[in-house]
Structures are given as C-alpha cells and as structure tokens.
C-alpha cells in the first residue's frame, strides 16, 4: 500500500518533513494565507522541531511574496502567538508546529486577526485559494520587510495570565514545582513564568529548545515517567508536563500520580467559576464532572463537537467564561485568549492550591468522581454509520446526540463514538459514576462494535 504521510485539508497542512511536507508546499500555503488575509502584518512563529527553521523561512517567503509584512517571533508557545496576534493590530498569524505529533511531522496552524483558529468558513476559502494557486503577487515596491520580535509576545502573554491570579500570595508561598518542558517551545518561557513571575522553587527537566523531544510529545500518564520521578525525588508539590507547542498541560500530583486530563480541566473550571460565574463550554467527550461543578455555581454547560475551533466558536457565541477539552488537556480562558493555554492552567492550579491550602491530590480527590474508559477502532470508509445504528438500537432508552458521531446519554453514564479529526481512527469514550458500570459499558460496546 502506498504510504501517504501528508494531509492538506480544512485543518491546514500537516505531514512528514522531507518527502511529503516540502518547502514549496509550505510556501504555497503561506501564499494562499497571505492572499486571504490581505496585505498587512502577519505574525510568524514556531515550535522547537528540527524542521521549524526551514519551514519558517518557506512560510516567510510565501507571506512576503503576497505583500505581507512578517513579524517573526521565533520559537514561541502557540498560545503566546495567539495572545500576541489578538493584542496587536495584525492580519493574522501562522505557527509552524505539529503540536503533539511525532518529531518527523510538522504543520501550519493558522490564525485570524483576533488570534483565533480559522473557523470552517475561513478554512474553506483558504483551501480554495490554495488549490487554485490564485495568489496575490507583490512587486518589488510592494514587498515588505521581516521584523524580528521574540520578546513582546512573551511579555504580553505572561502579563495577561498573571492579571487573573493573586501573584503576591502565590509568590509568598514559594511552591516547589517540577516541570517537564519536552524541550518544546515553552521551555524557556515556562521556567521564567514559574520561577520569576510566580516565585516557585523550580526543578525543571527537558527545557533545552535546541534539543530533540526526549519523550513522546503528547503529555500522558505513560509518557511522563521522568516527571513523576522528579516530583518524588524533589518532593515537589506539583509537576507540570507540556507538549511541544505549550497549549496542552498534564499535571502530576505530589504523590507522583498523573492526574486525569478531565480532572485538570475540572479543577480549573472550579477555580474560575468560583471567582467569576458564567457559561462553560466543553466538547462532547469531556467528563460529566463539569456539569456537576457548574451546577454548584448555578452555571450552564454547553457541549460541542470535538476540536478546539468548535469549542471556541461556541464559547464566543454564549460568552463563556471558561471552556476546554477534557480528554486532551486543554484549558481555554477567554479573558487571556480564546485558545488552549498551559500557562493559564498552571497559574489557576497554583492559585487554587494557595487559596485552599490543600495539596493538589486532595483537590483532585474532592472532585465529583467519575470513571472513564477510552478506546480506538480502525477507521474504514462507511464503517461509522452502521456502528452508530447498532449502538442506538442496543440502548433504546438512551438520549442520542448526533452532532459529532453518536453520543448516548444513559441514566448512569454516557457513550461517545466518533471519527477522529486528525487520524484514520474511530474513537470511543465511556463514562459512569461507578467503575464497574464504566467497564461493563465499555465491554458491551466493544463487543457490539466487533
């Protein structure tokens, strides 16, 4: 079978650098982007992948060729780039990052003038321009320069985050914090943030942006072994694990246990609603714990299909105060920016620990307790529909939601089956208050799906 490791589609362009993702493709995509957003300033940054420098130059070439002025911010976390785009007057931005994908991959993340992911209308238009190669072509007199500014975005981002927590009290507490930066784009900024801004006693590993990723890029319980060891060895009160572009956050408690990503989101939602009650938006696969917490504060929860852009669109529509996607470790706090931001999450968790005086394990234990099981099935064209029908027939009393695959709400739990946005997979998630019931549901469904 032909191996094809490139995907050009509504979510942008992503692929293995070398044979598939070439400088010409990146340049053409940037030309489409520059043509779409119009002449003006465009912010360009990247994560620490070895291919980042090469692709950054290809993208700069494409942007300049369409008459855009490039603000090159260099290696930056994706949320930092998004906050910066939103804060200054620009046409939009591009981040060269494949987020949590393996190191041989890279991709372009595209942002509009508010620093938000392109919505589906914008993505469609851009793709049409790309496919038609209908690019604006700047002449010598119309070509603008490249302005290099790595510092301003960091300053603005940290200022925005710190505005929402009690910095003086956190600093006074001198938290012992462990960090695994995966040698990613957040490596330097996270050290500065935790050590200098928040006065923590920091023990950091993998914070050299010139080195390759030391572990699998996605921060998960099975990839954070060294952070867990570090927390125990240094008797840290909390450990933070980032992904290469600093939007996702995983948390290790003081006992060296990696918290469930849904619980991390729940802790941050609790902290935010505590001080500023309002609407909450999460995706369909996020834990029902969020509903329980929102109920305590008399707040409403909206659910969307999986995907940051979907959550953000709904958050804007309902003026949500907090949102996110539990399963993949993303917290979205609009007062900083409509984007997944590990820095906001770190700040709120430390703030919560300081205010409550409780260790992070105890805060997590006091959350509404749910049990979850996740699974994946190979994707085949035409497979999802019949499976959805079979599931619905098997649970006739369930309330069905078909906005993203099928979600069945049972009186004692839920089941969600959907096609992945990024990989050729079907994803299955099951949740219940009881561990036995969660397992039972999972077994039933997997048997049914064959």
């Amino acid at each position: 079978m032909r191996e094809h490791r490139l995907k050009i589609g509504v979510s942008g362009i992503r692929g293995v650098v070398g044979e598939f993702l070439t400088p010409s493709l990146a340049c053409s995509f940037a030309q489409a982007f520059g043509t779409f957003v119009g002449t003006g300033r465009v912010v360009l940054g990247r994560d620490t992948r070895s291919s980042g420098e090469m692709l950054q130059h290809a993208v700069a070439c494409g942007l300049l060729a369409t008459g855009c002025e490039v603000i090159a911010v260099g290696i930056q976390p994706t949320p930092t780039i998004q906050v910066y785009i939103g804060a200054v007057h620009t046409r939009g931005g591009i981040s060269v990052t494949a987020s949590h994908n393996p190191p041989e991959y890279n991709a372009l993340k595209l942002f509009n003038s508010q620093g938000l992911f392109f919505n589906h209308y914008e993505r469609r238009e851009l793709l049409d321009l790309f496919y038609e190669s209908a690019f604006r072509k700047a002449t010598n007199a119309e070509i603008r320069r490249v302005i290099v500014d790595p510092e301003t975005p960091r300053k603005i981002h940290l200022e925005r985050v710190l505005r929402h927590v009690d910095v003086a009290r956190i600093r006074a507490r001198r938290f012992r914090v462990a960090l695994d930066g995966v040698n990613g784009a957040g490596s330097e900024l996270s050290c500065r943030f935790l050590e200098h801004s928040l006065g923590c006693q920091l023990r950091a590993i993998f914070v050299d942006p010139s080195k390759p990723f030391p572990r699998e890029a996605e921060p998960r319980p099975d990839t954070l072994g060294e952070l867990q060891q570090l927390v125990l060895k240094e008797q840290a009160e909390i450990g933070f694990g980032q992904d290469p572009d600093g939007d996702r956050l995983a948390v290790v408690d003081e006992n060296g246990r990696v918290l469930d990503n849904d619980d991390v989101l729940a802790l941050v939602v609790d902290a935010v609603l505590n001080s500023m009650p309002g609407n909450v938006v999460v995706n369909l696969t996020t834990s029902a714990a969020i509903d329980d917490i929102a109920q305590q504060y008399g707040c409403k929860v909206y659910r969307t299909p999986v995907g940051e852009a979907n959550v953000v669109e709904r958050m804007q529509a309902v003026k949500a105060v907090i949102g996110g996607e539990g399963s993949n470790g993303g917290v979205i706090f609009p007062a900083v920016q409509y984007c997944r931001d590990s820095y906001t999450a770190m700040a709120f968790l430390l703030d919560r620990m300081e205010r409550s005086g409780q260790p992070i394990s105890q805060l997590a234990n006091r959350l509404p307790r749910y049990h979850r099981r996740f699974g994946k099935l190979a994707y085949e064209h035409g497979r999802l529909g019949p499976l959805m029908q079979a599931l619905e027939a098997f649970f006739p009393d369930a309330q069905a939601d078909r906005t993203d695959g099928l979600k069945l709400l049972l009186h004692d739990g839920w089941i969600h089956l959907r096609a992945s946005n990024t990989e050729p997979l079907l994803r299955l998630a099951v949740e219940s208050r009881s561990k036995e019931r969660a397992c039972q549901l999972y077994e039933q469904v997997t048997r049914l799906l064959g």
Binding site: P23, C27, S51, A60, A65, R145
Partner: protein
C-alpha cells in the same frame, strides 16, 4: 519602469520581474535544484538591497536547509564578497540574490561553485535539468541544515584587496564614486574607514525600491552622473558601480566620460607587464583595442562567445598562471589574483594603481590609447527569423572573416561587427566598431537589415 511580465530561465540562472513573472515558487524550486546539485556542505548566501531580496532570501534559505545544507547568510553584500567568502571558507557553493545592472523591479539568482566562480556550461545545464525534472533531494527532519550569519565577510574581503593594492598610494587621490544605492557603498565606506581613502560617495544610501538612476555602467550614465562633478570637486578619477558591484565605468579628472570598453584594455595595460600570464580572455563583442594593447606587452587575446559561462569554460582550458585577465566590454573584469570573479572594486583599485604608476592624469593615460569607436544597438527579437537573418548577413559580408560561435561576427582589418541574440533579454544586439571614427554607415546598414527581418 518595466511593467511587462518577464521571466528568463537559462544557463545564466533565474532572472525576472518580481511578481510579474518571477514568483516565490521559481525561487524555491531553483534553490532546491541547486541544493540537490551541490555536494554536501555549507552554502553562502547574500543579496543586493532590492526589497524583493528579503522575500527571495527566505525562499532560498528554506530550500537549501531542506536539501540538507547549512546556510551562511552574509546579508546585503556585493557579489564579489559572496564569491570571496565561498573561496575563503569550506562552502561548497553560493547564491547571489540580485539583478546587478537591471532596474529595481527585477531580481535574479546567480549560482557559484566551490571555488566561488560561476558554473560552467555543463554544470549550469545539469542544474537546469534538475530544476525541470522537479526531483529534489529533500532530507528527513534529522538531517536538515542550520542557518547562521557571518558579518566578518566584508573585512576578510578587504584584507585581500589590501594585500594586492598599495592603499597608501591610492589614498593620495581624490575619487568620486556613484554607488547607485548599491552594495559598493558598504565596501567603499569601510575602505575609507580602514585606509583613509579620499572617496567622495554619491547615491551611497542603501535603497531597495527607488534607485537614484538606472544601475547601468556605461559611458552615457557616466556623462550624466559623474562627468559634471569631476572638475568642481577636483577629483582625480570618477567611478560608477552597478548594484552588486561587479561592473564599473569611469570618468577622468577633466570631466569626460571614459568608454566602458576601455576598462579591460586599461587593466590589461596595467597587469600584462606585472605577471607571467599573457592571455586575455574576452568575448566576441568587446573592443578590438584589446588586441592592440595586448600586442604592446606580448599578450594574446582569446575570444569566446558572450556570457560568463563561455568565459568560465575557456578559463578552465588554461593554467591559471597563463592568464593575465578575463573580462568583457561591459566593464566586468576578472583578475587571476582574485581567482576569476568579476569585481568592480578590484577593477577600480587597479585603475587607480595604474594612475599612480604612470604619474599622469587619467585623461592623459586614456589619450595614449589609439581611438576606437564602438556603436551598440538593440532591436526586438523575432526568434524564428534569426537563422535567415544570419545567413543573409553572412552572404552579404562574405569578404570579411566570419566567426559563427555566437550569432555572427565578421571582421576586417580595423573594423568588425557582431549580431547576436541576447541571453538575458528578448532582443537582438548589434555591435560594430572601427579604429578611428564611428562606423555609422555600417551600423545603419546592419540595423536596416535586422529590421527587415522583424
């Protein structure tokens, strides 16, 4: 202002009007082809001050990194500095981004091999084949190149100039220079700082869009720009550079413009007695004065087709110590001491050295050369009719000695003409020269003939 679409892809490289023919995609593909063509190793990149150079640089860097080459970026520098840096370092090649004597809307890529010299015809052909095949050796993410900057290139280049020329002697003369907003300005400022040269620089501001005038190095531009200022300033010599400083034209102290054709004979006059090399490589369109000057010093002229490829190919067939210099009537001259790169700054310093050696004003030196009058014209091209035109001319002027290596050159004692198709623009060039007065009638007859085939 050129507003027409223009793109030329040839053995000379890539050249066109940016946004009107020359696009980012061409740049990326050509640089990827070059990265594929070169053996492993670092590649030197520099650019002239055109605004589009920033865009082109980004594309060149991306493709070179993607083909596994480290890139050494010299920023805005002259082409000779790029070539010198390639020679001086471990680099396996280089790219100069700049359109030299073309107007600001144009840009181009020039490619150099490991010696810093232009590619031979065979090498340039291979590069073109790779470009057209679109089969590039993109490496995987672990073998991608890295970019670094080098700001020491200019001083290292000047160090070498200072080894060859007596800067103290040259510093006695007041010299007016029109930099045409190009890279010569950076070098000349540094020469002033380091050796106290008395250089009066005009149009010295580095500029990306509005050049003070067309960056051509010919007698007409010298008459307009330099000649009127020579006497008021009391300058001993005046020089005019193109944007990337490989070509030069000059004015003498009495305010008269010296023909660009005289640069090569003057340098031959200076260099032939100084070294063992006695060969002068030049093209079929260059003044016959060079033969006469060569004969004074026991030198011999080897004529080759127009274009740097032909010059490079010819140079490769001789030992370096056999050669005195190589160059063309455009004011672009290469000296063996500088390992055969066109270098206007070196040419300027050599002419000032000649001035110092002779201890007489430039006008007097120029007056000693027998008078030759050259006429140069160009007409629009109809490619299909060119063969017929050439056959007709050859038949009509059968009494002369015909050379058909590059269009048609027919020579008689003390008179010759050359009709050829330009490699860089869609025109027919007609050049004729006569010892003594201008061959006006011959030129008119030739132009009539060419027009009748338009």
């Amino acid at each position: 202002m050129t507003t027409q679409r223009q793109l030329r892809i040839s053995h000379v490289g890539l050249r066109g009007v940016v946004g009107m023919g020359l696009e980012a995609g061409h740049v990326l593909d050509f640089a990827a082809a070059f990265g594929t063509f070169l053996p492993p190793g670092p590649v030197v990149v520099g650019r002239d001050p055109r605004a589009s150079g920033v865009m082109i640089r980004e594309g060149v860097v991306a493709s070179l990194l993607a083909t596994g080459h480290d890139v050494v970026d010299l920023g805005v520098v002259s082409t000779p500095v790029i070539q010198h840096t390639i020679q001086r370092t471990e680099a396996v090649g280089g790219i100069s981004i700049g359109a030299s004597h073309n107007s600001a809307e144009w840009n181009a890529l020039k490619f150099f091999g490991a010696q810093g010299t232009y590619l031979s015809t065979a090498e340039a052909g291979e590069l073109l084949d790779i470009y057209h095949l679109h089969k590039f050796d993109f490496v995987d993410h672990e073998r991608l190149g890295k970019l670094r900057f080098d700001d020491s290139a200019l001083d290292a280049y000047i160090d070498e100039l200072a080894e060859v020329f007596d800067m103290q002697a040259i510093a006695q003369y007041k010299v007016l220079v029109d930099c045409c907003n190009g890279t010569s300005s950076l070098i000349l400022q540094r020469l002033k700082e380091r050796y106290g040269l008395q250089l009066v620089l005009i149009n010295a501001q580095i500029e990306g869009v509005n050049f003070a005038h067309e960056p051509v190095t010919n007698r007409k531009m010298v008459s307009l720009q330099l000649a009127p200022l020579m006497q008021p300033l009391g300058a001993d010599a005046g020089f005019l550079f193109d944007i990337d400083s490989d070509r030069v034209a000059l004015a003498s102290e009495d305010g008269s413009a010296v023909s660009e054709e005289l640069v090569l004979p003057m340098l031959a006059d200076y260099l032939l007695p100084r070294g063992e090399g006695k060969l002068i490589i030049t093209n079929l369109s260059t003044t016959a004065l060079i033969e006469e000057v060569a004969s004074w010093h026991g030198g011999r002229v080897v004529r080759v087709p127009v274009g740097r490829q032909a010059a490079m190919d010819a140079l490769a067939t001789f030992k370096a110590n056999q050669i005195a210099l190589a160059g063309e009537g455009t004011g672009a001259v290469m000296m063996p001491r500088f390992r055969f790169i066109y270098d206007g700054i070196a040419s300027m310093l050599a002419i000032l050295s000649l001035r110092h050696e002779r201890q007489e004003p430039l006008s007097a030196i120029v007056a000693r050369y027998p008078k030759y009058s050259i006429l140069k014209e160009e007409l629009p091209l109809v490619p299909q009719r060119m063969p017929q035109l050439m056959m007709e001319l050859q038949r009509q002027y059968a009494d002369g000695l015909a050379d058909v290596r590059d269009g048609l050159r027919i020579s008689w004692p003390e008179r010759w003409f050359h009709v050829r198709v330009s490699q860089t623009e869609p025109v027919v060039r007609v050049i004729c020269e006569q010892r003594g007065e201008p061959p006006v009638e011959l030129m008119e007859a030739l132009l009539d003939q060419v027009r009748s085939f338009a």
